[in-house]
């Protein structure tokens, strides 16, 4: 009944007998509680967040719906283990293009162990986390020309510099083959732009982060999903926040780390939108 998610682009993957998330055919995503404090912390966050009256209704829409914790047969054959039961964000899409962008100019935070700090800061400096305030963690793009998914290797994605991240964000909304050296950004205006597009959703999120001091979303990702295979239908572009194993109480301070990175990411999306508009106007 449960199976390995088809469209997961980052995080632990449940294949080759390893422990990872599973999905059912009812649109639910089962994420195993890891043995250490991280799983506990993420479940605690979902419990707190889903019942938090200080979070505006429309902000809840940026988060996967939480259905509690259930004992479920684990993907690694180790028997029944507690899993968080969440909304499967890509359920209902046939050929979704998906990108996972980890937000923030650091993934560590005050009071972590030296071991964790060292591991994080090394990766933060090696990727665009420090320089851009975000890093692309994974992506898959449905290539209409080739009628198949393109999914770059994790090591390639994590080696992106600013240009690599920008190109990935352009390819993500292009109709020509990902093998083409110049992405045409043909879907930019309908996926990134428009009143329900990615940019509008990011700006809604930004407005909340400007003043919210409830949570600090350390090492959390924005998942962008849309579909370009649905013919004349809308691309159903969607922004969701995922991965809350390192969320902490805000204690009256805004989440300046997430906020700064989010605004930097928004600028990248705006730049692509603007250049694609100019491009069309000029007939290129």
């Amino acid at each position: 009944m449960l199976k390995v998610p088809e469209h997961q682009v980052a995080g632990h993957i449940a294949k080759d007998g390893r422990l990872g998330p599973l999905v059912d055919d009812q649109g639910r995503f089962f994420k195993p509680l890891q043995g250490d404090a991280r799983g506990e912390n993420e479940a605690k966050f979902y419990e707190s967040f889903s019942s938090n009256k200080n979070v505006p209704d429309h902000i809840h829409g940026y988060f996967p719906v939480y259905h509690g914790v259930q004992l479920v047969e684990a993907s690694d054959g180790s028997g029944k283990l507690p899993h968080m039961v969440l909304e499967d964000v890509v359920s209902g899409y046939v050929k979704p293009s998906v990108m996972d962008v980890k937000i923030g100019s650091r993934t560590w935070y005050p009071d972590v162990s030296e071991e964790y700090f060292n591991k994080c800061i090394k990766k933060d400096r090696a990727t665009t986390t420090v320089s851009l305030g975000f890093r692309v963690s994974g992506l898959k793009i449905f290539d209409r020309q080739e009628s198949r998914f393109w999914r770059p290797d994790k090591r390639v994605v994590l080696a992106y510099k600013a240009d690599g991240a920008r190109t990935a964000l352009r390819k993500f909304v292009s109709s020509n083959s990902v093998a083409d050296s110049i992405p045409d950004c043909a879907f930019a205006s309908e996926v990134y732009g428009g009143s329900n597009g990615i940019l509008a959703q990011l700006l809604g999120l930004k407005a909340w982060f400007e003043t919210q001091t409830l949570y600090h979303f350390n090492s959390c990702s924005i998942l962008m999903v849309y579909e370009n295979e649905s013919g004349d239908d809308a691309p159903r572009a969607r922004v969701k926040l995922v991965d809350f194993a390192h969320v902490l109480d805000g204690n009256g301070v805004i989440d300046h780390n997430f906020f700064g990175g989010l605004c930097s990411f928004i600028k990248f999306i705006q730049d692509i939108l603007e250049s694609s508009e100019n491009c069309c106007e000029n007939g290129h």
Copy 2:
């Protein structure tokens, strides 16, 4: 003719025969170019910035006016050395209260030496830089009750946690003695609030940082100045950016590090303003 500045609260101080900035009685501030790349970099920034047509006019007002580099008798007796000639931000104030707040959740940046990185990150973690996105670097407050300046020791200031930073920002705008345990925030509405107050100025700066990709202001400070000794006169609250030894080209990316820290700092000021307004309304 040149003398040691009376109201400098952070940075190298020109006393006991050490090298530091000097001021004249014409409102000019002479900052020695340090031997290493930092002085060169700061002078280069001032040259670039002061002639940069892409910087809006009103944004230039947040920066000290730059009058070029001059050879001036150094404060350490080492003869004539090149000094940047800048506007003396506190010139014209009689008893200015001054606070230097270093903005950003890190003071290091990509491609620095390991030595510099290690030095910075240690201090960033030991202060509120990482947790709040800013740290108070120094302050002096004119205590009207005692009719003298209060200036906490640098080590005390750098040891502030979130509560210490908040208390300093409250004391900064209080009429009761700094020795009182509960700052009254009597000047909050006229210094932080109002159409020309600190908050309005910070919001003007924020609007520019939201989209500007010209410069990254690493390890740069906001200087807040006002005067409470001028009787019925306006307190002439002023925000200036200072210390540009580590400014880098933005390369098309917003300064998410400065921006996030600035917004966190703004939230602290807003919180003090709101609580002081509630306090007055309730007659406390």
